[in-house]
């Protein structure tokens, strides 16, 4: 059969259900300041890793919020824990500890 290069794609959209939030609650317990994030992007703007790669720490923690863990393991390894993001966050989110906690929780998977 002739191939036209089409295939059936998996749906991209996020389907939100109860279970996917369990790990989010645990992250919020480990680092409660995370709940205060209002997505300003200050952390991403200053991020050392983000200057040289497409690493986007704000996007990373949003993907975690929705339980998109598969996409995160690789990403999180790019962070070098320099802590600049924590210094600039206007809502006082302890991002460095957040990232370490995310890594811990993702390691369980």
């Amino acid at each position: 059969m002739k191939s036209f290069g089409f295939s059936i794609a998996k749906p991209r959209s996020l389907e939100i259900d109860g279970e996917s939030l369990e790990r989010l609650h645990r992250l919020e317990e480990k680092e409660p300041s995370f709940k205060r994030c209002f997505n300003c992007g200050g952390c991403t703007a200053t991020c050392s890793a983000g200057q040289f790669t497409d690493f986007n720490i704000r996007r990373v923690h949003n993907l975690y919020r929705w339980g998109r863990y598969q996409e995160l393991g690789e990403e999180l390894r790019k962070c070098m824990l320099c802590g600049k993001c924590t210094l600039v966050c206007p809502r006082g989110v302890n991002l460095r500890h957040l990232i370490v906690s995310m890594r811990e929780l993702l390691n369980e998977l």
């Binding site: 709940k35 205060r36 997505n39 704000r58 949003n62």
Partner: protein
């Protein structure tokens, strides 16, 4: 001294003076007092009436409905201090019981006409005519009719309710889905009927953002187990304490804010609602099932506002009444003696409405003193 109650130095001394030197105390008769007609007895009309009466002017306060301050009475708690709306309404109504204020309930006004300088006539629907020296429009707003956003399914799916209906549930202290269960998930949608070209309203209604935050917190207080999401385009936390309330909503109540506009809602077989939006902060479409979808309704000019603004020739934007200028003459119109206060001009918070009513009262007193 025979009369011990009388304080020395006042009347007794005057009465010793020759008549020509005694201070003249004028008792104004009803006829001599300037009369101000206020149309609409919401918070703006009531507050202005109280302030104007305190300055010894006669006030005629007209209300189309049998009840005063209906929009306010529909509220449960007020942002940002979560004080009780009924207490505030009752307090204002009590202050209305002033000898110089006459309240006409169930008296819709057909039109107002300026006969000459300092002389207006107010015509009621049932063809009575009242004379007034100045007229103040306080005809207020109406909430947007959610049925006009068909794609959001209001009036079609039971799980879709309005912010007004939710407020009523708070008043009854009972939140439930139509099947009587307490909701496991509730989604709020901002900007319904505002900032929307499709319904002809480009403006922001100003209070729905903070109202959603307030309602989300109230919901969490009553049902801590319920998951609460707020879908927004911008969060406009402009007033005193608003931003702090938003932070408390996130931090203490774990309310989740998602940037993106829900553009579709559909009923699910089990009586819930399936919504579609984009999480614009990560750029992914999103589907979610919720027990209740709460539409945060915007403000539009009320029927009375539209009709009177039109007949007086002072129509501003979107059918609201237009003031002379937004800075120094925001209570004035280009008609001498016709003034505006409150949400007949544009969406406003209750705090701003009361301040605006007081400023209108002062402008009117100034105007009357030039008579």
């Amino acid at each position: 001294m025979k009369d011990k109650k009388e304080r020395p130095g006042e009347r007794r001394t005057w009465s010793l003076l020759p008549k020509a030197l005694r201070p003249r105390i004028e008792v104004q008769t009803q006829e001599e007092r300037p009369v101000v007609a206020i149309i609409g007895a919401g918070p703006a009309g009531m507050e202005a009436a109280i302030q104007i009466a305190r300055q010894s002017c006669q006030v005629l306060l007209f209300e189309a409905n049998a009840d005063l301050a209906l929009n306010l009475q529909n509220k449960y708690k007020l942002f940002p201090d979560m004080s009780d709306a009924q207490t505030l309404a009752q307090g204002m109504m009590l202050a209305l019981e002033h000898p110089l204020i006459t309240v006409y309930r169930q008296t819709p006004i057909k039109h107002v006409v300026q006969v000459e300088n300092f002389h207006w006539q107010v015509f009621t629907e049932d063809n009575r005519v009242f004379k007034a020296t100045a007229v103040l429009l306080c005809t207020g707003y109406e909430v947007f009719d959610a049925r006009r956003k068909e794609e959001l399914g209001y009036g079609i799916y039971n799980g879709v309710i309005t912010s007004l209906e939710l407020e009523n549930m708070f008043k009854q202290e009972h939140i439930s889905t139509l099947t009587g269960d307490s909701p496991k998930r509730v989604v709020f949608l901002q900007c319904v009927g505002s900032r929307d070209e499709k319904v002809g309203n480009r403006y922001c209604s100003k209070v729905c953002c903070v109202t959603a935050v307030k309602q989300a917190i109230e919901l969490k207080r009553m049902h801590p187990e319920t998951e609460v999401y707020v879908f927004y385009m911008d969060l406009r936390m402009w007033g005193k304490g608003f931003e702090e309330m938003y932070r408390v909503a996130q931090e203490q109540y774990n309310i989740r804010f998602v940037r993106g506009r829900i553009s579709e809602a559909a009923g699910t077989f089990d009586g819930g609602v399936q919504i579609k939006a984009e999480d614009t902060l990560i750029g992914k479409p999103l589907k979610m099932r919720t027990d209740l979808l709460v539409l945060m309704l915007g403000m539009e000019a009320s029927c009375g506002t539209k009709q009177l603004a039109k007949s007086c020739g002072i129509v501003g934007d979107y059918g609201f009444a237009g003031s002379l200028d937004p800075h120094l003459n925001d209570n004035h119109t280009h008609r001498k003696g016709l003034f505006l206060a409150g949400t007949c001009k544009r969406p406003m918070s209750l705090t701003d409405v009361i301040a605006d009513a007081r400023s209108a009262a002062m402008e009117i007193i100034n105007y009357l003193s030039k008579q």
